[in-house]
Symmetry: C2
Subunit: 341 residues, 2 copies
């Protein structure tokens, strides 16, 4: 029934033409597994080492057009972003990512290169942090959906929860703030970086949006240094510290002079007519880490104090759970998972 | 700007109106966690016990219109099916499911009752097998997407792989075959069961499609009894045994007289003009288990011999890796993940 077709490189074919098992085979081929992977992909389930008898585990889903755009990011960047987003959740517990599982939904006419590129990005980013990609699924969906689960090793440490902050603690961050939101604003303004290779500050912000780089080591080091509460910044600094404040029944006071305003960020904000503090305080997806420490703790390298913790009923902090320079932060307030109904 | 609306029950509202955190809060409320859940939902990651220092892990994605239809199944049934599909992968390793993570994508106008119903089905089905629901995500997508990851405890046993079958083994199944495919055929023929409560055989087959019931305990018992290879039947008996044959470099011979034809299945097949053997041999999603055992092994309760294993180069078994009554099985050959390109 079919006439013979010229032989094509697989990457030019669609996932429906190549088929589930072949696409998965391509994605899995050539990936090395760390020692924590006792049994990799290919059976009904994988088996991963959990040396201290516990496993930290988290899951996130990224949807095309909602969490990424394939005209703004390469498939590999999408894969790397998925690893960063999930890996940061493990780092925020003070754990080390050991294994990722990836379920990929895509339309049948998706080029194999897209599915393979996402898998490649996930594989390379996982490998770079010493984790394996041990399993997943490939199914048909209307749009590209990347659903990732990450396992982590607490290495004998207690997990650092959101609920451990105490009045008197200092609030500190590791990693950079506002850069993913700045990159998103640039992309939304039509600056995709293609014709701006010479403008390093723009290119760096675009990269920051396309592939966030969580400070994985800082999470483990914070746990070792006795961090009392920790979270990754996915919804925005104020929103995510709000989760710590709520879970710990405290209030948090941030000091913008301690956060500081990166001149490159300020310059780009001026160019696109934006408020850089909106990016820094409410921009999500940098996947920096925020933690509280006892006021006399020695903070590990890479952590900078930006505020302090006061009692939940502190009179100097009426209003919101998180104050910026003594006041409510009244801007957009962080990422919303759904469009307004 | 908004005029006040009459207060509604949350279930009548949409997920966008209620918001991500409230929907997740509803889904999590009232669920009990087993002792294996050291830290449940609500932080950046969960922490699950992995008593023997290893964790079995698997992931599957279910897409509306592809893996389920909300006019054919209730949201709770969809949730239960997602647990069965994933839990069976853990059972097929000889492990016990301990924890599920669920990432749910849905359109903003999805009724809260749909999201809550899926979560409820997942929670109840997990609870029934002693597992927790420890985390996940809720995001906006074009259609309902349910992405599940399951963790399992090998309880000190070696995982039972697909690659362990040896010539001379017997092939056995636990659980029933062809019933999910029969239920799907009935639904496709317009028999949704609504006006057929009196016809028990039809109702049972519809149930088998809507909520498969994997023989979890049979997986653990097979591992204890020394099963050499095992898989769950998700793509179809012949297709999934083909995976064992390929991984083990053997051939498998099935004997229909040993599989047997359930008279109820035969009667329903006749009614809709179908071949019941197509359902039994090529129908997926029953999530029964298939395994091979040494020929002198004592099979645990619930396992029935349906064939044997011969060498990969056996002359009596030329052609396919899996023969039925000595011949190639030339029917549809199992579930395809993508529509033909």
């Amino acid at each position: 029934m079919d006439t013979p077709r010229p032989k094509q490189d697989d990457a030019d074919r669609t996932v429906a033409e190549l088929g589930e098992f072949a696409v998965i085979g391509r994605a899995v081929a050539g990936r090395t597994q760390p020692a924590t992977t006792l049994l990799g992909p290919g059976d009904d389930a994988a088996v991963v080492r959990a040396p201290d008898g516990r496993v930290a585990v988290s899951a996130d889903m990224l949807v095309e057009g909602r969490h990424f755009r394939l005209d703004w990011s390469t498939p590999e960047q999408v894969g790397r972003k998925a690893v960063a987003q999930n890996g940061a959740d493990i780092a925020a517990m003070g754990a080390r990512p050991t294994a990722f599982l990836v379920s990929l939904g895509c339309p049948p006419d998706t080029p194999v290169a897209v599915a393979a590129g996402i898998s490649e990005g996930i594989g390379l980013a996982a490998e770079a942090i010493g984790a394996g990609v041990v399993g997943g699924d490939l199914v048909q969906s209307d749009r590209v959906v990347v659903s990732v689960t990450v396992l982590g090793d607490l290495e004998g440490r207690a997990p650092v929860l959101r609920s451990g902050a105490r009045a008197g603690d200092v609030v500190a961050v590791a990693g950079r703030l506002g850069r993913s939101a700045a990159g998103l604003a640039l992309l939304s303004a039509g600056l995709t970086g293609a014709d701006r290779a010479s403008d390093e500050s723009v290119a760096a912000l675009l990269d920051a949006h396309r592939v966030p780089t969580p400070p994985y080591r800082a999470g483990v080091e914070a746990a070792t240094a006795g961090a009392r509460a920790m979270t990754d910044i996915s919804d925005g600094l104020v929103a995510d510290l709000g989760h710590i404040a709520d879970a710990s029944n405290v209030r948090i006071r941030l000091d913008r002079s301690r956060i500081g305003l990166d001149p490159a960020l300020a310059a780009v904000a001026e160019r696109v007519g934006a408020d850089p503090w909106e990016w820094i305080l409410a921009g999500g997806e940098d996947h920096a880490l925020a933690a509280t420490f006892a006021s006399d703790a020695d903070l590990p390298d890479g952590w900078a104090v930006i505020g302090d913790v006061v009692p939940g009923d502190d009179e100097t902090a009426e209003g919101s759970a998180v104050l910026v320079d003594g006041r409510d932060w009244t801007a957009s307030g962080g990422w919303q998972s759904f469009d307004a109904g």
